[in-house]
Symmetry: C2
């Protein structure tokens, strides 16, 4: 009991227990004793999960008042809201596992698009190769649209292909089509694939054809 109470508001309580659940608020419900996963968060949120599905079987929102008591020898978790009046009562008949754990509070970072990646490199072509300069963006060819064309400081043309997630062999084939297309007009063309990661097969193909991989993720918005 003490260990539960001390954990409230500071740590997250995760319990697997055979439990019986009484809810009364805008509606009323009852769940017979069965094995469930109960999560009590630091802000008073309570979630009761079962085997399947995204939605909890029962839940109480944040700012609920949690109390943990004993009743007929069972640990009882009660979550109350005043407005609207709502009570969720969980009677733990048997506790199979108990975790009292610290959890983080972070925010998701929404990642930029492929276009955002291209824009960043266009503003600073040295990301691809020291001293490179911008030739053109979104260059249409009979084989597709090249994201970015640069020129290296010793006169090579650099054609690029950007992927916002892991690059696979399709991306390498795509890059090769662009390189072959430009090779008809220019003697020296380099191919560069830009992505946050690359599959082993794509990496091998890239190496075989003498192209370069630049590891780069979409910018965080």
């Amino acid at each position: 009991m003490k260990v539960f109470r001390r954990a409230l508001k500071i740590k997250v309580i995760v319990v697997v227990a055979k439990c019986e659940i009484f809810y009364e608020g805008r509606a009323a419900s009852y769940a017979e004793p069965h094995t469930r996963l109960i999560i009590v968060k630091t802000d008073g949120t309570v979630l009761v999960h079962e085997r399947d599905g995204r939605e909890p079987l029962n839940w109480q929102p944040s700012n609920s008042i949690i109390s943990i008591t004993e009743e007929d020898g069972n640990v009882v978790i009660v979550s109350k809201r005043i407005r609207p009046p709502e009570v969720l009562k969980i009677v733990l008949h048997e506790i199979y596992a108990l975790m009292i754990t610290h959890l983080s509070k972070t925010k998701l970072r929404v990642l930029g698009t492929e276009e955002d990646m291209v824009r960043q490199v266009a503003l600073n072509p040295s990301i691809i190769e020291e001293g490179a300069t911008l030739v053109s963006r979104e260059v249409s060819t009979p084989h597709g649209r090249i994201d970015l064309v640069l020129r290296s400081k010793n006169g090579y043309l650099i054609v690029t292909e950007f992927k916002r997630s892991s690059a696979d062999i399709d991306a390498v084939y795509q890059l090769r089509r662009y390189v072959e297309y430009y090779s008809k007009f220019h003697v020296n063309v380099k191919g560069v694939l830009v992505a946050p990661s690359i599959s082993p097969r794509a990496q091998a193909l890239l190496k075989k054809w003498g192209f370069k991989f630049v590891k780069r993720s979409p910018p965080i918005k």
Copy 2:
């Protein structure tokens, strides 16, 4: 690794880990390595929870295809959907706790109202007292509406007060008003309080005034 894989589809995996999360689907997001609670259900549902709030930080719906692999020495949970294309990738940098547990799959039972309780007793007044018969339902008095009036087999009038949840002293006072009201016309009146439970103070008051408590819950719909 094996223990994880064997658990898939049969048991629920609950992990507390320092993890990094990559999501790409209709949008894209990234969550830096932090301590989170990850739940992988038998139907492929994935939930990632943090310290506060009802909503998971990341989630994948049921019927997602889960694979658990190793990457650079880290356990990696990948959840994929084909339509719409969506990938959630969780890289576990450090595992602090791991539970592989059976959980139940039940349904909430929606409980009936106070009216449903009254209706059941009206159909079978012996629930209150052996041989009792129905006199009247919803009897208006200057002191409020009596849920049910019965007559005992030896001629007593039985006035009742129903509560769908725990009865407190207000319920006992209410019952007393009805008993006193009827006592003006009838010599013998009994008071009965019907509820799933009663507070200790209400119980004491009930005893003091010679009323009876009948333990009864709202019917399950």
